[in-house]
């Protein structure tokens, strides 16, 4: 069960090698979280992530999960929920893709969309149903500011996050009053493996800062969290810029 501050005792990470997810898990394990499930494609990285959390004192299990295989989600996640209550599901899988390459290879672009959006729709709905049955729990969905307004440089990724974001908001409304809390997290540019080699955007942040914001959001039972918080204002302005102006911005 979550405590009075929204800190979970059990955590399921979908996308078990995500740096933001692992930073969040570390933070929560330092508090109350004792059981962690890391779901992801079996890999040395996944096992290494599990070992890292075990070293902090958590009981960690890995589970084979593939965002691109929605047919399997019900069975795979069903097994996790059947073992015991999950207080927090962190939906953290996602790929950035390579915009220039993906524009030339539509099949690669579709893979970005299928991972970030289709996979999340399936895993999100399966998780939501299980959380609703247990009458409590949080679903934290890692969205992105990229979904707030599509920009030339990464609109394939951005559109997939826009879909995910809209889906998660609607899911949160659908679950209102059921004891289940859905929180959409919109980080800006996060310095991580995913963005290695990219030019840094203004207001860049770190996985640790996102983790801090998630913990605060859990305590406040927030529905939307921007990281850093200043992006809420910035993006509100950006969203209303005329297309002709936005196009010419160096973003």
């Amino acid at each position: 069960m979550k405590d009075a501050f929204g800190i979970p005792q059990s955590l399921l990470v979908l996308g078990g090698t995500s740096e933001i997810a692992l930073a969040t898990a570390r933070r929560l394990v330092a508090r109350r979280t004792r059981t962690v499930w890391l779901a992801g494609r079996p890999s040395p990285a996944l096992e290494q992530a599990a070992a890292g959390l075990r070293a902090l004192g958590a009981e960690v299990r890995t589970v084979a999960f593939d965002a691109l295989d929605p047919e399997s989600h019900e069975a795979v996640l069903g097994k996790v929920f059947a073992e015991s209550d999950i207080d927090l599901v962190l939906l953290a899988f996602g790929i950035l893709g390579d915009q220039a390459h993906d524009e030339r290879e539509p099949v690669s672009a579709v893979r970005v969309a299928q991972t970030n959006y289709t996979g999340a729709v399936s895993a999100g709905l399966v998780s939501a149903a299980a959380l609703q049955a247990q009458g409590h729990g949080s679903l934290v969905v890692l969205s992105s500011v990229a979904g707030e307004r599509a920009r030339r440089a990464n609109f394939i990724y951005g559109s997939s996050k826009a879909g995910l974001d809209a889906f998660a908001q609607g899911l949160g409304d659908a679950l209102h009053g059921t004891g289940v809390h859905v929180m959409v997290v919109r980080p800006g540019f996060v310095r991580s493996r995913m963005t290695a080699g990219l030019e840094e955007a203004p207001l860049a942040t770190t996985p640790e800062a996102v983790a801090t914001a998630i913990e605060l959001g859990l305590r406040r039972r927030s529905e939307t969290v921007w990281v850093p918080g200043a992006l809420r204002l910035v993006m509100s302005a950006v969203r209303h810029l005329p297309r002709a102006v936005f196009r010419r911005l160096p973003v």
């Binding site: 009075a4 501050f5 929204g6 800190i7 209550d85 247990q134 004891g179 305590r219």
Partner: protein, 452 residues
């Protein structure tokens, strides 16, 4: 029985809401049926929802609202006992019993608790050093157990000791027979004095507490430096008839139970209304306005015992984020721990305006009953105070290291692995539950969180 409705349930502190089917049985048969049919995620009895944490919520399962079973069956006005349903509130008992010259044996800071809840949390009051906790005055109760059967439980049995303080996890209490305290009037004679700091307070309480049936100290935890732990002591007893001035209105009807009621707190209040500044200001005024020393003032029962009951929904003043109650006890001889914790709380600047210190007398036999002989401090803090979770974890460590414990009826955040150190009879409790309720029919968010 009302139709099942899924509702969001929280404790009085309004943190960590979960959803459950609310079932309000109107007969014992309906209660038994509700227990038999509550499903895989079990059920938990609930009274008036004054437990601060998650003791009376059960995510995804059933919550049995027992306030529909609220009949007073028999009053022995000569012997001083009452037999009533568990859903009867102490408020109702006072209304009925005071005109007959009887008072409840123990009341906490609110009279809006049910008799079932009073046993389940084994509540204590300002008279603990004299009268012990509520279960000491319970002569028998009827318990609806997981198999749907009803057992009569009397003191001195394991089932009694598991249920008194057992947070509703042994079964649903249906009725109880409670021994009452005789009174001549519905007024209190109250002595008030101020203590300049914690040591002064402890010295005064130690030296003179035995002279008073009821005793409590309000303590200013925002005061720092030399004033750390400054307090206002309020102590008294039921006023005898001849203490009432001749010709006074109260003299004509000395047993009339009068309460006052202010408007309810608004449903939605901004976060941070109770900041260090506002609470500091309140505390300053509260301390200054208390008389340095005053003897024998007459006060109504409601204002002496339950000042907050006059403001319905006062828990809303903490805003949407809710609040956390922290109550612990450390034994006599561990005053060093108490001093250290009070100093830490005042250094941490917890905006608490309801901090209360008192002395406990002998413990009662309930396995998870909270009171043990020693000092108990209770305070409430807005849940949104930054770093509060980690800070209270550190206080828990100090409490546990001193052989003390925190109160489960108020808990919403204890680290589960500290529980066994705090409650040495925990294994007995778990063993009895495993035997009595092998399928875990009685389950609450508290029991899940702490694996009770």
């Amino acid at each position: 029985m009302s139709a099942d409705t899924t509702v969001s349930v929280t404790g009085w502190g309004r943190t960590a809401p979960t959803a459950a089917r609310l079932i309000r049985p109107a007969t014992y048969e309906e209660a038994a049926a509700a227990v038999r049919e509550c499903g895989a995620r079990g059920g938990i009895p609930r009274g008036l929802g004054r437990a601060y944490g998650d003791a009376a919520q059960n995510a995804g399962g059933a919550v049995f609202d027992m306030t529909g079973l609220d009949r007073i069956h028999a009053i022995d006005a000569d012997g001083g006992t009452v037999l009533c349903d568990a859903g009867v509130s102490l408020h109702r008992l006072m209304e009925v019993l005071l005109p007959l010259g009887w008072f409840v044996p123990v009341t906490p800071g609110t009279r809006y608790v049910t008799v079932g809840g009073a046993i389940g949390a084994d509540i204590h009051g300002k008279n603990h050093h004299v009268s012990g906790s509520f279960s000491r005055h319970v002569l028998a109760f009827e318990l609806l157990t997981a198999d749907g059967g009803i057992r009569t439980v009397t003191p001195g049995t394991p089932l009694f000791d598991a249920t008194a303080g057992g947070m509703g996890l042994t079964g649903v209490i249906l009725t109880a027979t409670v021994r009452l305290h005789p009174v001549e009037t519905a007024l209190m004679t109250v002595d008030t004095e101020r203590a300049t700091d914690l040591d002064d307070l402890m010295a005064r309480l130690t030296a003179t507490d035995h002279r008073y049936r009821y005793s409590v100290a309000w303590i200013d935890l925002l005061a720092r430096g030399a004033a750390t732990g400054r307090a206002v002591l309020t102590r008294g007893d039921h006023a005898p008839l001849d203490a009432l001035p001749k010709g006074a209105r109260a003299r004509r009807d000395p047993l009339a139970f009068r309460t006052s009621r202010f408007p309810a707190a608004p449903a939605s209040l901004p976060e941070g209304l109770l900041s260090r500044t506002t609470v500091g200001l309140f505390n300053e005024v509260w301390y200054r306005k208390a008389p340095r020393a005053q003897k024998g003032r007459l006060q109504r029962i409601a204002s002496f015992f339950h000042p907050l009951d006059g403001v319905p929904h006062w828990n809303r003043i903490y805003g949407r984020g809710g609040f956390v109650q922290y109550q612990f006890v450390v034994g006599y001889g561990r005053e060093d721990t108490l001093r250290r914790i009070v100093r830490r709380i005042s250094e941490h600047r917890c905006p608490s305006f309801l901090a209360v210190l008192k002395r406990f007398g002998d413990a009662d036999p309930g396995w998870l009953s909270f009171p043990v002989p020693g000092w108990t401090l209770a305070l409430d803090i807005p849940a949104g105070l930054p770093g509060l979770g980690a800070f209270l974890d550190e206080l828990d460590e100090e409490v546990a290291a001193a052989g003390g414990r925190v109160y489960l009826a108020k808990d919403s955040r204890l680290r589960p692995d500290l529980l066994a150190a705090m409650y040495p009879r925990l294994d007995d409790f778990r063993a009895l539950r495993a035997e009595l309720d092998p399928r875990g029919v009685f389950t609450s968010d508290l029991s899940r969180r702490l694996t009770l």
